[in-house]
């Protein structure tokens, strides 16, 4: 008997959840590990339950399905995702972020069975890859069956914003807890290895993302890359000071100093001209 497929159901509508539970109940080797009715619960449950598969609604309170996926993606053991919605317009975006399948409501048992089959294939493939990799190098960081980190995360960021629109909020996960930071509250963002530290409103949050990806999602009229490792909210800048030849610092309104590279200074000047 193989390990059961551990599935988490995420949908804000009770009838939709009970339908999924009913359908899944008829599959041998599937264990429903929980039901969530909003994005926060989903992120918490994924962190705690470590499901293999999440059946995820798109429009939900607190965090939408894509934001949930963004927060749990790119980690070892990240779950495979099947989106499940009445809206067909998110399908492209769903496959860009490597969803296993995209179920359009209303759907029947056969359609869900097909999606489960795909999920099993994807999980098996990821497991065999991980085995091969750890046998070769002994690396502990095997990729999960869900979205991989960088190129996908970039697609995520780009698609999450849609054409001509930029993120108005940044979602950050801290263990099982989720923080939503409105972009207007952000003072500056600092790159720290694979993470970015988002500073604003007296707090800082670490997010597993590169500075370039985050910069792409934010409104370039507000956030300027002043340095390889710094993205600043131009509304927080008090002044720019010249330290030496071609060496400048940005002084924020609260007195903090951030380094400015030569190309960063060019970008700032473009912004202000």
């Amino acid at each position: 008997m193989p390990e059961p497929l551990r599935v988490l159901i995420v949908d804000d509508e009770a009838p939709a959840r009970s339908l999924l539970r009913e359908y899944l109940g008829t599959h041998a080797g599937v264990e429903v590990v929980g039901e969530c009715a909003n994005g926060f619960e989903a992120v918490k449950a994924i962190a705690e339950q470590r499901p293999d598969l999440v059946v995820l609604d798109v429009q939900m309170p607190k965090l939408d399905g894509f934001e949930v996926l963004e927060l749990v993606a790119g980690e070892p053991g990240a779950p495979a995702v099947i989106f499940c919605t009445a809206y067909d317009e998110y399908a492209l975006r769903a496959f860009e972020v490597h969803a296993v399948d995209y179920l359009l409501k209303p759907f029947g048992r056969e359609r869900l069975a097909e999606a489960l089959g795909r999920a099993r294939d994807r999980l098996a493939l990821a497991a065999s890859r991980a085995q091969g990799q750890s046998a070769e190098s002994g690396s502990p960081a095997e990729p999960g069956p869900g979205p991989a980190t960088s190129p996908v995360a970039a697609a995520l960021a780009a698609s999450a914003r849609g054409p001509g629109r930029y993120s108005e909020r940044i979602v950050v996960r801290d263990g099982a807890q989720v923080h939503v930071v409105p972009t207007e509250q952000v003072d500056y963002v600092e790159a720290q290895d694979d993470y970015v530290a988002i500073h604003g409103a007296g707090h800082s949050h670490l997010k597993h993302q590169t500075l370039a990806e985050l910069a792409e999602a934010l409104d370039p009229a507000r956030f300027v890359r002043i340095h390889r490792s710094f993205l600043v909210n131009v509304e927080r800048i008090a002044r720019v000071e010249l330290l030496g030849k071609d060496q400048r610092v940005v002084i924020l309104r609260d007195g903090r100093q951030l380094p400015v590279s030569r190309s960063g200074h060019e970008r700032l000047r473009e912004q202000w001209s």
């Binding site: 429009q59 009445a86 409501k105």
Partner: protein, 361 residues
């Protein structure tokens, strides 16, 4: 500018026809005095071509003095005056042209022959101008009726478009998809509930089509439709969806454009109830104060809700419905407070049965 100048092909046809008119004129001149065809045509054809441009000026006179206007006799008098002017110019030019062709045209003839030719020219010029004026009046009348027809059609199409848009918004496919999904779920767990929901959905769709086909309905009818809609959404959202109603009876009797309220309630669910973990209360209120009907739809708002695209389409639709309804005092006002969103409609209060036209006037 005369419209003919914008259409070179037609202008060419007019000029060619005018040139052809030179032939009978040359024939007439030859009847009066014998002379070679070549000379008669050389005199007549350029003159008729030139006159065609003069008689086109009737277009401006016709536009300025419409025969269907307040003073048709004045228009006739003006046209007669214009005809005299036109033929005078023509005859003057004819004089110069006759003098220029003198040796050829009047070889062996007296000056009296030339004078007679010019009198003929003058006399012929008047009916030709008047014919042109009549033709221009006909064209203008045709254009006016055409434009009027188009205006009527356009306004009808505009009204139909607004109606269709409202119907389409009403029969929002996502609402149907989600409802079908709920029915799908109920079939397993609560077959009786599934049946009730099928019935409710059918009832809602039938009423929507019936109300949508009317020009106006009472607020009460509109609210009854909203109740059916809420009944269906209640299955999806359960305890998260709570509704408070405060509708005064005299307000419910007022006339409103159909399918006005449901888009607002749908918005209240989509951007209110659906975004709040614990749901909330949608408040629907209507009052009538003096001549004004005021309808408000209020929903809770979660400040942390994910940003959704395509907001405002529903409100825009409702605004357009109010415009088509035509009452100038009608307006839609949307306001966001800390954790509530409120849309207020104000319309002229017209009790059911009273004709709209009287109130609009």
């Amino acid at each position: 500018m005369h419209p003919l100048f914008a259409r070179p092909v037609r202008l060419l046809i007019v000029v060619a026809t005018a040139a052809l008119f030179g032939v009978p004129l040359a024939w007439l001149l030859r009847l009066l005095e014998p002379r070679p065809w070549s000379a008669a045509l050389a005199f007549a054809v350029p003159l008729t071509v030139f006159y065609s441009f003069i008689v086109l000026s009737a277009w401006w006179v016709c536009r300025r003095h419409p025969i269907t206007g307040d003073a048709p006799w004045r228009a006739v008098a003006v046209q007669l005056g214009a005809a005299l002017q036109a033929t005078s110019i023509w005859t003057a030019l004819g004089t110069f042209w006759a003098l220029a062709l003198d040796r050829w045209l009047y070889a062996g003839l007296t000056r009296a022959a030339m004078l007679r030719d010019l009198v003929v020219l003058f006399a012929a010029g008047i009916p030709i101008y008047l014919l042109s004026a009549v033709a221009h009046y006909l064209v203008l009348a045709f254009e006016a009726s055409h434009a009027a027809e188009r205006r009527v059609l356009e306004s009808e199409v505009g009204a139909r478009e607004a109606e269709l848009r409202a119907l389409r918004a009403q029969l929002n496919p996502h609402f149907l998809f989600n409802s079908l999904n709920s029915i799908n779920a109920l079939v397993g767990s609560d077959p009786e509930g599934a049946r009730r929901m099928c019935e409710g959905l059918g009832d809602f769709l039938r009423r929507t089509l019936a109300l949508g086909a009317q020009d106006e309905v009472t607020l009460g009818e509109e609210l009854a439709l909203v109740e059916r809609y809420l009944g269906i959404e209640q299955v999806r959202f359960g305890e998260r969806l709570r509704v408070e109603r405060a509708v005064a009876p005299d307000a419910a009797a007022c006339r409103v454009p159909p399918l006005l309220l449901q888009p607002l309630v749908e918005n209240a669910i989509k951007h209110g109830i659906q975004d709040c973990v614990a749901g909330g209360v949608i408040r629907i209120a209507a009052t009538r104060v003096d001549g004004t009907l005021r309808v408000t739809v209020e929903n809770p708002v979660d400040a942390d809700a994910p940003v959704r695209r395509g907001e405002g389409v529903g409100l825009e639709n409702v605004r357009r419905r109010l415009e088509v309804f035509g009452a100038r005092e009608s307006q839609l006002f949307a306001a966001r407070e800390a954790d509530r969103f409120r849309v207020t409609l104000t319309l002229p209060a017209i009790a059911g049965g009273a004709p709209m036209e009287a109130a609009r006037a």
